[in-house]
Every structure is written in structure tokens, then in C-alpha cells.
Amino acid sequence: MINEFKIFIQFVKGGFKVALLGDKTYHLWMGLLTFLMLAATFAYSIQIKEGLVVTGMNDRISWGLYISNFTFLVGVAAAAVMLILPTYILKDINFKRAVLIGEGLAVSALLMCLAFVVIDLGGPARAWHLIPIVGFFNFPNSMLAWDVIVLNGYLFLNITIPFYILYCHFKGIEPNKKIYLPGVFLSVFWAVGIHLVTAFLYAGLPARPFWNSSLLGPRFLASAFAAGPALIILILDFIRKHSEFEISNITLRKIALIVTVSAQINLVMLFSELFKEFYAPTHHSLSATYLFFGLEGKNSLVPWIWTGILINVTATIMLTIHYIRDNTRNLSLACILLFIGIWIEKGLGLIVPGFIPGPWGKVVEYSPSWIEIIITLGVWAMGAFIFTILTKVAIAVETQKLHHS
């Protein structure tokens, strides 16, 4: 027992070392992230003191930049499953190396999601009211209650399973399939679950016709499985260029195939939604009209969404054409475009138009305040920070640099 504890301490100490040591670029990167996080902490302290009035939100548009990013990042977190599925269930060895990185991404994205939700609360100190028995947990009626359960459960799965595998590799032993495989199976379904539940948060509101569609859940899944693996491709490409971690071209190509198909399905769904809104527009189509064409002279989101769609379409076409997709540089460009495009259409391009026009027809525009932007950047920095540390440790273990002596 004590021996096990000693090995664990060794693992933690080694992990700290790996995380704290690095070359100048690494320190600059972490320093930049730390600066952003500190700036965000300061901005958040202002928000706590003055209230949410310091954001751009108001009674008409009660969810803004924070929830937009939350929605997008839940999708990124769910996408880690895309790598688990082939690795463990289809037994494709190629993906195995990428899975740990993917799960690290899932953890970072989930922590960012939880951070965004807490930051968006009007009374974060009262968040303990969510705890069952001690507080009042409105399960199963409230979709937010479901979301709390599934997100935390997914976080638990994505911390424990990779930790177990990494720790075994650290000790130099083979992880026991009987322990991690059930968890892996569960997390595949769970990942689909987290994103469907998040979609149901919006789709279950008949008060907001822009969201109240049966296609929202599937659309979320399609865009998540496009954006998440796209980011993973970019990260893996970066990792294999800057460390001894080997990832074959075949692995990247297979992930790229997943991204391509998901992006294509996403476009088909987008077309379906556009048809439904604009073929015979009703009162319920006003939100889409505002988003794509402007309403009553108010059109601040119009350039935003069209840029997003253009980027999406370009990226999808680039990915569809085989020889473009197989070239790593073009692939990276397509992935960056796709990631940004989906962030636009699933973030602000989804949340804000849901509130416009208001229940009695009022058209009010939204633009985030500086405090909102700084806090958002800080949360992204926090996610990148956590992800960098997790990845560095994982790579060190996998390349045998960090091992039990």
C-alpha cells in the first residue's frame, strides 16, 4: 500500500516537473496564458462586484457570449469520443496514440464549459443550491439539472480512465482491459448524451421558435464531430512536429475522414433549416430572418453568420476533395477554417438570434462588453493551460521520458 502511494507521489512529482520545465517558447506560451487568466480574474471581480450589468446582456438577450462558448465547447468535449470509438471498439491501433490527447482535450473543454456556466450565474455563491439533499435539485424536470449530471459524469469518466491508462504506462504495466473497457464503452454513449442534453436545453423551449426544432440535437452532434476532431488534428500535427510523440499520417487521415463526413452532414442540416425557415416564412422565422438578412434595419449579425457559412462551405469542400485532404498543410488550413466557422454558427450565431425578436416582437441587438470578452479569453486561456499541462505529461509518459524507475 505504502509502496503504491510512493509510486503515486513519484508520478505526481514527475508530472509537476514536466509541467514546470520547458524551453523558452513554452514559458512564453504559459506566461501569456497566465496573463490572460489574471486579466480575466480581475474582470470577473468587477463583474462580481457590480453584477452582470457590466456585460452586454439585458432582459431581452439574457444569454450572450458566455453561454455561446459553453454550447460550442460541450461539442468539442463530446468529440473526444470520436477517437475512442475506433481505438477501443474497432480496435484500430492507429488511433490509440491519439486517444489520450483527445481525452485531455475533453477534460479541458469540459472544465471550460463548467467555468463558463459558473461565470454566467447571477449568484455563483449560491451554486451549492444545486447539490441534492443539501439543496434542491430539480431532476428530472429541468434540462439544466440533467446537464449538470451528464457533464460532471463525463468529466469523471474522462479524468479517471486516461489517468488509469497513463498511470499504468508510467509503471510500465499493461492496463487491465476489464477495468477500463466498460468505462470506455460507457463514455461513448455518454459523449453523445452530453451533447444531446445540451441541445435539449434549447430545443425544449417552445418560447424560442428558433431553437424549438427537432433537428437541433442532431445538428449539434454533427457540428461537434466536425469541430472537435478538427482541433485534434491541428493539435496532433503540432505535437508530432515538436516532440518525439509519433503519430502516423494514416491516423490523421482517418480523423480527417470523420471530420469531412460530419462537416458534410452539418451542411445538409443547415440547408434543411434554411429551407424550413425561408421557403414559407412564418412569424417563427423572424429570428432566422434577423440572423441572415437583418430585421427592422438591425443587422449586426448578418456579416458574422455569412462569413461563418462561407468558411464552413469552403472548409467542407476542401476536405471533400481527396488530394486536398491528404496534404497535411491544406488539411490544417481546412481544420482551422472549419473550427472557426462552426464556432461562429454554433456560438453567437445560435444563442443570440434565439432571443431576437423578443416575446412581444422587440428587436434589440447584442454586443459583448469588454469585460465579457476579457473573461471569455481568460477561460479559453485556462483551458489551453490545463490542456498543455495534461498533454505534456501524457506525452512524457508515452515516450517513456516519465516512468517509474
Binding site: 453584477g51 439574457s62 455563491a125 443550491h129 417552445p206 424560442r208 423578443g358 412581444w360
Partner: protein, 355 residues
Amino acid sequence: MIFDLLKGNISIEDIAFSNKKTISSKGSCKCGGDSSKCQSNNEKDSDEYDQVFNKKLSRRSAFSAMTKSLAVGAGLTQSACNPFSSSEKSEMQWEEFFKKNYRLMSDNEKDQTVHRLTSLYEKRTGNHVNISTDDPNENVLYGYAFNISQCKGYMDCVNACVKENNQDRSSQMQYIRIHEIENGQINFEGAEDNFYHEVPAEGHFYMGTQCYHCENPPCVDVCPVGATWQEKDGIVVIDYDWCIGCRYCMAACPYDGRRFNWKSPDVPESEVNLVQHYLGNRLRKKGVMEKCTFCIQRSRKGKNPACVEACPTGARIFGNLLDPNSTIRWVLDNKKVFRLKEDLGTEPKFWYFMD
């Protein structure tokens, strides 16, 4: 290694920038004894930088310094959060923070929280406030009717509501909105609710909206902490101290019934209505939701809500839906009534009709 740090034999920098072997060798004193007795190498090799940043502390002084700063820090935090630091006040605030959801409270707990709230208010302002915890009356289900032909857009109801319910003045929070709609259709798209001209304006009619206290309230289902619920007499209420401010209910309401305190509400002390109900018009804080409560502090005592009382034309009708002799039942049975957004299935208890 941690014990070495606490003993003061090494500093943080030693751990970060060197490996284990050099640390253990630094721990021993050059003259052969242990380092606490040996002062020589400390002063000879150090410069100003070292004296500040690499100062070696003994364990005792390290602990005492840390405890002192912790106490000072805690004291500073305490006084920063509590400018009138009185222990009774802080105890009450502590208990207020950890109290339960109102609907789970026993009568005793309700009395206690009312006592705390009135004491804290009195300490703060010197005024005595009366917070009732009246339960719903038996055999009562409140309903509301609005006569479109008689509303002239005077907005006396809005003024009365704001005063009665202690709403935030600086953001001009109003539960009631009066919409000026052009003749020809009941279409809110072109409606104007920020008008200021002689009323009634030619070619227009007026409709007032507020929380409709639906029988099937979408806002109640979505609240993750159960801070909002429907009482037995049909009023949808909010426990302001339980709300965490996620604003999901605001997204779920199809009728713009709910208002959020984006900042601390500001009600001039002289205008505060001191006759309050725990679930009604007691003073709220920033970061919580609020809404029309059919003036629960009035209606549970048999009075009409402030808007009904204030309307000079009698366009607003309020009563007990379960009483067949009530005016609201007469209206439902004899006038051509309708509700807004009927297709959403929310079953609002607010009907509109025309003469």
C-alpha cells in the same frame, strides 16, 4: 523534501531549478553540525537579493509568520465584507446564506428567516418592515381578465405596480408592459411599448402584458434549483434567496413575464413599500430573478393587485376562478375571451376580451 522546506534548509528555488542530489547536499552545514547552529555560511555568501528572496527561515518563525498573515488576511477580508462588523449581524447573514428553499421550510424556520430579514433591515435603515408568510387561501385559484376596449394606454397600472412591488428605479424595471398596437390585427411585431403622446392614439388600441401565472408554467419546469414554483392558489412565485441567477426561466417564458436584476436594485428609502410578503415584494438583491406575483402581499389578504386597483377605466379584472359568483368567472362565461400564444399549451390564467 517537503520537511526540508519547512525546516528552512532549502528554498523554493532550490526545488524548481535543481535535482534531488544537490538539494540533499545543501542541507548539511559546511562545518559539520546541523545548519540551525551554523550561521557562518549564511552571511558570508549572501547579497541583498539573497537576503530577501533566499532568506532562510526556521520552522517556528515560518509558521508564526504564516499564521499572523492568515489572521490579518482573514480579518481584512471579514472587515471588507462586513463594514459594520457586529457579530450578531454577521451571524444572521451567515444563517441567511445557508437557509433552505422556502417551500421546504417549516413554519418555525419561516418565522426565523422573517425575523432575521426584518432585523437586518431595521439595523440598516431604522425602518420596521412587515414581511408576511401568508399561506395560500383554501379554495382559491386566481384568474385575471383584461378588457382591450377599455384600456386607453394610461399606464397608471405600471406606476402603481412599480411602487407597490419595490422595483428597481434606475433600470426602470416594470413587470407590466403596455403595447400600443395598430388597428387591423393583434400583431405585436409592430407594437410600441415606449410611447409618450396623448392617449388613446387614433387608429390604435392597447394591450397590457405581464406574467400570466400559467397553469402549465414552462419557467417552473426549467429551474435547476427549484427556486420558482406554482403555489396552490395558482400564483407562480420565486424564492429570491434561492435563485442562482442562471436565467433559464427567462429563456423559457414565452410572455416576457420575468425580470432579472442585472445590478443591485435601487429603491429610494422613502418609497419603499413596507407591507411585504416573503414571496412577493420584499426587497431583492442583484443577480436574482423577479416577476409579477399578482401582488401576493395584497391578494392573500383579499385585496386586488395594485394594477387592478389603479386602473381608472376598470379594464383589469381579478378574482377567484373557483368561485362561480366571481366577476372573472362571469367574464369567462359571458364574454368572448382569448389568451395569447394559446398554441404553446402553457394555459395562462390571464384572458383578454373586448366589449
